[in-house]
Symmetry: C5
Subunit: 254 residues, 5 copies
Amino acid sequence: MDIATLIGLLGGLAVIVGAMLLGGSISAFFNVPSIVVVFGGTLAVTIAHQKLGRTLGLVGVLKNALFDKQQPVEKLIPLIVSLAQKARKEGLVSLEGEDISDPFMARGIRLGVDGLSPELVTETLSGELQALKKRHEYGHKILRFMAATAPSMGMIGTLIGLVQMLRTLDDPSSIGPAMAVALLTTLYGAVMAFVIFNPLAEKLESRTKDEVASKSLVIAGVASILAGDNSMAIQSKLESFLAPAQREKLAKGS
Amino acid sequence: MDIATLIGLLGGLAVIVGAMLLGGSISAFFNVPSIVVVFGGTLAVTIAHQKLGRTLGLVGVLKNALFDKQQPVEKLIPLIVSLAQKARKEGLVSLEGEDISDPFMARGIRLGVDGLSPELVTETLSGELQALKKRHEYGHKILRFMAATAPSMGMIGTLIGLVQMLRTLDDPSSIGPAMAVALLTTLYGAVMAFVIFNPLAEKLESRTKDEVASKSLVIAGVASILAGDNSMAIQSKLESFLAPAQREKLAKGS
Amino acid sequence: MDIATLIGLLGGLAVIVGAMLLGGSISAFFNVPSIVVVFGGTLAVTIAHQKLGRTLGLVGVLKNALFDKQQPVEKLIPLIVSLAQKARKEGLVSLEGEDISDPFMARGIRLGVDGLSPELVTETLSGELQALKKRHEYGHKILRFMAATAPSMGMIGTLIGLVQMLRTLDDPSSIGPAMAVALLTTLYGAVMAFVIFNPLAEKLESRTKDEVASKSLVIAGVASILAGDNSMAIQSKLESFLAPAQREKLAKGS
Amino acid sequence: MDIATLIGLLGGLAVIVGAMLLGGSISAFFNVPSIVVVFGGTLAVTIAHQKLGRTLGLVGVLKNALFDKQQPVEKLIPLIVSLAQKARKEGLVSLEGEDISDPFMARGIRLGVDGLSPELVTETLSGELQALKKRHEYGHKILRFMAATAPSMGMIGTLIGLVQMLRTLDDPSSIGPAMAVALLTTLYGAVMAFVIFNPLAEKLESRTKDEVASKSLVIAGVASILAGDNSMAIQSKLESFLAPAQREKLAKGS
Amino acid sequence: MDIATLIGLLGGLAVIVGAMLLGGSISAFFNVPSIVVVFGGTLAVTIAHQKLGRTLGLVGVLKNALFDKQQPVEKLIPLIVSLAQKARKEGLVSLEGEDISDPFMARGIRLGVDGLSPELVTETLSGELQALKKRHEYGHKILRFMAATAPSMGMIGTLIGLVQMLRTLDDPSSIGPAMAVALLTTLYGAVMAFVIFNPLAEKLESRTKDEVASKSLVIAGVASILAGDNSMAIQSKLESFLAPAQREKLAKGS
C-alpha cells in the first residue's frame, strides 16, 4: 500500500531531474556549497529546535510508518474471528503454535497464552499504541518544521550568492552563471519542502490515523478472544469499528 | 444547478485562453516539458501524500458531486408527503411500482417494501450517508493539497528554467524566449490552483453540506412513511429541517 | 451611518485615481483585455465555487446591509416603551394606525394586531432573523473568496503578459509599454481585493453582528408589547440587551 | 511603564530615519503623492470597513491605553486594605476626604459614600469595565486591519508608479529616480504596518489583559470595603487575584 | 541535553558563515548601518510591543530554559521513592542532610522538613510552577514576535537602500555594490528569524511542556513523601505520570 508514497516521491524527483536534463546536463544543478547550506542549515536548525532524541527518532518513525506491512482492517476481523473459534474449541493454549500475520496481534495473543489477564493485555497493548501515537506526532511536527525551514535556508543561500555576485560586477560574463548558482539554494529548499517533507508529513498524519484505528480494533479483538467471547458477538462488536464502506467490503469477502 | 460550476470553470479558462490569443498565437503558451513538470509533479506528490485508493477515489467523488441530479429540498417534502398518503391508503406494497425520482429515497422505500424494519432502513441509509461524507471530506482535503502543491511545482519549474537560461547568457536573443518558457510553469501552477482546484474544493465542501442536509431529510421522511405516519405530521416534522426561506418557498409552491 | 462605507470606498478609489492622474493621463491605466481577465476571471471562478443562487444573492445582501436605514438601538427602546404604553391604555388595536419607523418592528406589531399569538409572532420574526443571518454569512464568505481570488487572477494576467512580451524582445522600445500593460492586471486585482472586497466583507460581518443584536431587541420588545407588559418592566428588560455605554446614552436621551 | 512603547516606537522610527540620512538627504524619502496614496488610502479603507464611531474611537482608546497611569497591582492591595481599616474604624463617610490615586477605585468609593448599595456599585464598575474591554477589542481589531491594509496600499502605489515609469522609458536617466519614487509607497506601507500598527495592536491587547485583571481586583476590593469586611479577609481574598510572582513582590513590599 | 540547541544554532550559523567565506571575504557581509537597522529596529519594536519587564525577562527565561540541568523523569522516580523510604524509616527530619540533585524537589523537601503542612508545600510549589509557565509563555510569544519582525525590518532596510541607489544611477559601477549592501538587511532579518528566533521559540515551547510534566511529577512525589506514603504506592502513583516508553525505560533501569 505504501508503495504509493515511494512511487510518488521518486516520480516527483524524476520529473524534476528530467526537466533539468532537458536543458543539457544535470551538473549545472549540482553545487556542493549550495547543498551544504540548504541541507546542512536545515539539519542544524532542526537539531536546535527540539530534543535531540526526538529528532533522531524521526528516521525510525518514518521507516516503520512507510515500510511496515499493515494489514487492511477487513482482513483483521476474519482472522480474529477464526482465532476466537479455535480458542473456544481447543482452548487458549492451542493458539500458541498459530502463525499470526499481524505482529501487534501476535504479541497480544502470546501475552494472553502466557497467562496474563485480559485486562493487563489490553493495558499493555494500549500503552504501546499510545507510545506509537506520540512518536508519530513528534515525527509529524518535526517534518512540518523542516518543510518550513528548508525554503528559508534556500532564501538565505540565494541572498548570500546575490550579495557576492553584486559586489563583483566587473566581469559581465560571470553574472549569469553566478546568479544561476545563487538560485540553486532556493531550488533545493523548494524541492525539499514541497516534494519531500510536506507529502511525508501528510502521509505520516494520515497513516497514523489509519494505524490507530486498526490497532484499536486489534486490541478489542484480542481482549474478546482471551475473554472467550462467542465468535458472532466478536464479529458484530468489531464491525462497529468499521466505516460502512469497509463493512460492505468485509461482507463481500466473507 | 451544478451547471454553474462547469460554466464558471470553463468561463475562467476561456478568459485566460482569450488573453493568450490576444498576444498572437496560443502556441507560445504550450510547452510539453513545462506541462510534464507541473502536472506530473503535482500528480506524483499527490499520490505520495495519501493512500492511493483515496486519491483515485477523488474522480468518482467529483463526478458524483458535480453531475448527479440533486433534488431541491422544497420538492422532496411534497414527494414524501404524497408517498406517505398513498402508503396509508393502499398499503406499503403499493409503493413498489412508484417511479421515485430521488435514487436515495427510492432505495430506502424499496428496502422497506422488501420487508426491512424502519430502524434497519434508517441505519442502512445513515451508513451510506456517513460513507458519502467521509469520501467527500477526503476529496476536499486532497483538492486543497493539490491547490497548495501546484504553485510550488510551478515555482520549482521556473527556477529550473532560470538556472538553465542564466548559465548560457552568450546569446542575448535567446534570453527572452527562454525566460518566457521558464515562466510558463508558474503560470500553469497558478491556473491549476486558483481556477480549478480551489473553486472545486470550495464547491465540494458547500455541496457536501447541502447534500447531507437533503439526505438527512430523506432519511427522516422514509422512516415516517414506513412507520405509517400521518401525512400532516410528516409535513410539519420535515419542515423543521428547512431554513425559514425554504419553508416560505415550499408554502408558495403547495 | 453606512455613509462611512461609501465615503471610505470612494475615497480609497479617488486616492488611487488621483495617483494615476499625477503621472499624466489615466488612459494608461485603462486596458480592456486586462479588465476582462481580472474582472471576468474573478467572476467566473466565483460562479464556479458556490451555488449560483447564493452568489447572485450577494448583490441583494450588500444593498440591504449598506443602504437600509437601521435605527440605533438607543432610539428603539423609547419607541417600544411608548407603543407598549399606548397598547395598555387604548388596546392593542390602537397600534394599527401607528407609523412605526422600523419596518421589522412594524411587521411584528401588524402580525400581533392581526391576531397572531405572541409566541407565533416571536417565532416568525426569529425565523426572518435566522434567514437574514444565513444570507449575510454566505455573502461574507463569498466576498472573502473574491478577495482571495482577484489577486490570483491579476497574477495570472501578468504572467500571460510577461510571457507574450518576452517572446518578442526584438523591438526594445516596446518592452516598457508591454510590461506596463502586463502589470495592470496585478494592479486591478490588488485594488479589487484590498480596496473593495476586503473592507466590504469586514463591514458586512460587523453590520450583521449589530443587526442581529438590534433585531433581537425588537423581537423581545414586540413580544412584551403583545403580552401587555408594564412599560417599566419592558424598559428594564430591554436595557439588559445594551452595552453599558449605550445604556448611558439612552439615559441621557430620555 | 508605557514609556517603553513610546521609546520603542520612536527608537524604531529613529533607526529608519538614521538609515535614510546615511544615504545623503532625507528629502529623497519624502514624496507628497506617495504619502497621500498610502496614508490616505489606508485611512479611507479603514473608514469603510467599520462603523465610523468605532474607528474614530480608536484615538481615545490608544490615548487612554498608553498614557493613563495604571497602578501596579501590588500597590493596589495595600491601598485597599488601608482604606478598609479606616472605613471600619471611622465609618464609611471618613473616606470622603481621601485622595485616592486610582481614579477607578475613587469613583467606586465615592458612589458607596454617596449611599449606593455595594451590589449597585459593583454592577456600575463592572459595566464600565465591560465597556472598556469592548472599546479596546474594537481598537485592537481596527489596528490589525490597518496593519494588513497599509502594505497593500503601498503595493498598489508602487504598481501605479511602475506602470507610469514603464510607459515612458524614452529617457533612461529618469528610470532610476522614477522607480525610487515608486518604491516609496511600499516603504511607507511597511513602516506603518510593522513599526507602528502591529506593535500598537500587540501592546493594546496585552495592556487590555493587564487592565482587566487590575480593575477586577479593584471591583472586588471596593465591594469588600463597602461591605465592611475585615482587612485580613480582604487581603487574602485579593491575593487570590495575583500571580505567585506578584504575591511574593507584595509580601516583600509590606 | 540542551547542548543540541547550542550545537544546532552554532552549526546553522557556521554553515552560513562558511557560505559567505566561499565567496572571498566575510567583510562583504558586514555593514554597520545595516546591522543597526535590523538589530536596532527589531529591538525597538519588540520593546514597544509589550511591557518592558516582560521583554527584559526573556533573557533569564532563555538562560534557565537552555542551561539549567533538568533531571530526566526516569531518574526522578527512584530518587523520590528512596527519599520516601528513608523518611518512613528514620523520620522526615532525616532528609534534612540529604543532598538532593533536583533543586525544585530540594526546596519542597526543605519546606516540609521546616514544618509546613503537605498542602501548603504543594500550594507553594504549584505557585512556582504556574509562575514559570507564565514566564515561559511570555518568552515564547516575544520570540515569535521577534521572528515575525526581523524579516520586516530587513525588508524596510532593503527598500531604503534601493531607493538611495536608484536615485544615483549616474555611476553604473556603483550599482552592484550598492545593491549588495541593500540586500544585507534582508539577509540579516532572515538569519535572525529562521536560524535564531524561530528554533528558540519552538525549543522553549517544547522545553516548557517537558518541564511542566517533570515538575508536576515532583510536586506529587514531594506531597507523598511528606504525607508518609508507602513507597510502593508512591511508585505506582508517579508512574501514571509517565508515557509508556518512559515506564519501560524506568523498569529496565531499576
